[in-house]
Symmetry: C2
DNA sequence: TCCTATATGTGAACAATGTCAACTTACACC
DNA sequence: GGTGTAAGTTGACATTGTTCACATATAGGA
C-alpha cells in the first residue's frame, strides 16, 4: 500500500497528478477551459494516458466534484465542532465563503452537466456533505424541516448570486459584512 | 420594416426560426446538447448559415438568455400588476415556478459560461428583470435593502435546489405547497 | 535470476464540433 | 433591368473527446 517513495509507477502517480493539475486549471479557466488534452499536456503525458485512470472527461469532472464535496464537508464539520453560539449563522457564513473561495469548483459541484442521478459516487458525496448541515441544524424533526430548508435555500442562493456578481456592493461595503447581515436572521 | 408576408428572405425568417428551434432543443437536451450543426440541421439549413445571424455559438446562447430574462420579467410584472396581498410571497412563488417550468432556460440565464461582464445586452436584460423585482419589493431605501437581498437569495436558492433535485419531497408532498411554506415567511 | 502476465503510457487514427473563406443565389432598389 | 449586398452553401481547418493497436515497465512466481 504505502511505499517509501511516492512515485509508484512509470510516470509517477498519474491519477493524483491529474486531479491536482485539473483543480488548478479548473479554478483558473473554468469548467469549459478544462480540456483533457491540455490537462495531459500540463502533466507531461500523452493525450490518451488519462483514460487509464478515468473513463471519460465526465468521470474526471465527477472525481473533481467529489473532492469538492469532501472539502466542503470538512469545512462544515470544522465550524460545527467549534460549537458556536449561533450554529446556523456560523455555518451559513462558512458555506458562502467556501463558494467564494472555490468559485469554479463550487459551480462544478452543482453543474447540471453532472447529472447526479447517474452518478452514485457524486450523489453520495453530496448527501454526506449536506447531512453534516442537516445534523447541525436539526432539520430532522418535522417541525424544523421547513426552517432548515429555508435557511439552506437562503445561503445557497446568496452564494450563487455573489458568485455571479449579481449582488452589487455599495461604496466602501465589505463582502463579509454584507454576508453576515443577510444571513444574520437565521 | 414590416412586410405582409412573414418570410422576408431566402429561406424564411432564419433568425427567428433558429431561436425558436434552439429554445426547444435547449429545453429538451440542455445547454451542452445544443450544437450549432444540429440546430442548423433542425431548421433545414447549412451548418454555416447561422453565422449570418449570430457571431458565434456563445452569441446564440446569449440571445436565448436574453429572451429568457424578458419572459421572466414579463411573468414578474404580470404578478405585480395583480397587486396581491403579499407581494413578495407572490413574486417569490412565480420566481420559483418560472425556474421549474423553464429549467434549462433558467440555468442558461445564470450560466457562468455567459460572463455578463462581456455581454452588455445580457447584463441589461438581467438588470431590467431584477429591477422589476426591486421595485415591487421596495429595496431601494437603505432600510429595505438587506431584507430585499435576503428574500432574493432565499427564492433564488430554493429555485436552484429544486431544479437540481436536491430537495427531496416527502411522501404525498406537493411541490407547490412546499414552495409556499418555505417562502411564506417573507 | 529470469519470465511472463498485467498495469501503465504512446501514437495514430476517427468522428464531431465551432468557425472561416470563397463562392453562389436572390432580393431590394436606383 | 442591372447591380450591390444580404443570405445561404460548400468545403476546408484546427481542435476535441475517444478508441485501438502497440510499446514498456513493473510485480511476483518459476
Amino acid at each position: 500500500m504505502s511505499t517509501y517513495t511516492n512515485a509508484p509507477y512509470h510516470h509517477g502517480n498519474l491519477r493524483q497528478a491529474l486531479l491536482e493539475a485539473a483543480l488548478i486549471i479548473l479554478e483558473k479557466e473554468g469548467q469549459n477551459g478544462l480540456g483533457l488534452r491540455d490537462l495531459a499536456r500540463a502533466v507531461g503525458v500523452s493525450a490518451a494516458a488519462p483514460y487509464r485512470h478515468f473513463d471519460s472527461r465526465a468521470a474526471l469532472l465527477e472525481a473533481l466534484a467529489v473532492t469538492g464535496f469532501q472539502r466542503f464537508s470538512a469545512a462544515m464539520e470544522a465550524v460545527a465542532s467549534t460549537e458556536p453560539a449561533q450554529p446556523m449563522a456560523a455555518m451559513g457564513k462558512t458555506y458562502v465563503l467556501f463558494a467564494l473561495d472555490n468559485a469554479n469548483l463550487f459551480r462544478l459541484m452543482f453543474s447540471p452537466e453532472l447529472k447526479r442521478d447517474n452518478r452514485p459516487g457524486l450523489r453520495m458525496a453530496a448527501d454526506a456533505a449536506f447531512d453534516t448541515l442537516r445534523q447541525a441544524v436539526g432539520g430532522d424533526q418535522r417541525s424544523g424541516r421547513i426552517k432548515a430548508l429555508a435557511a439552506w435555500a437562503k445561503v445557497h442562493g446568496l452564494a450563487i448570486l455573489l458568485l455571479d456578481g449579481q449582488i452589487a456592493l455599495r461604496a466602501g461595503e465589505d463582502t463579509e459584512a454584507l454576508i453576515a447581515e443577510i444571513i444574520g436572521g437565521l
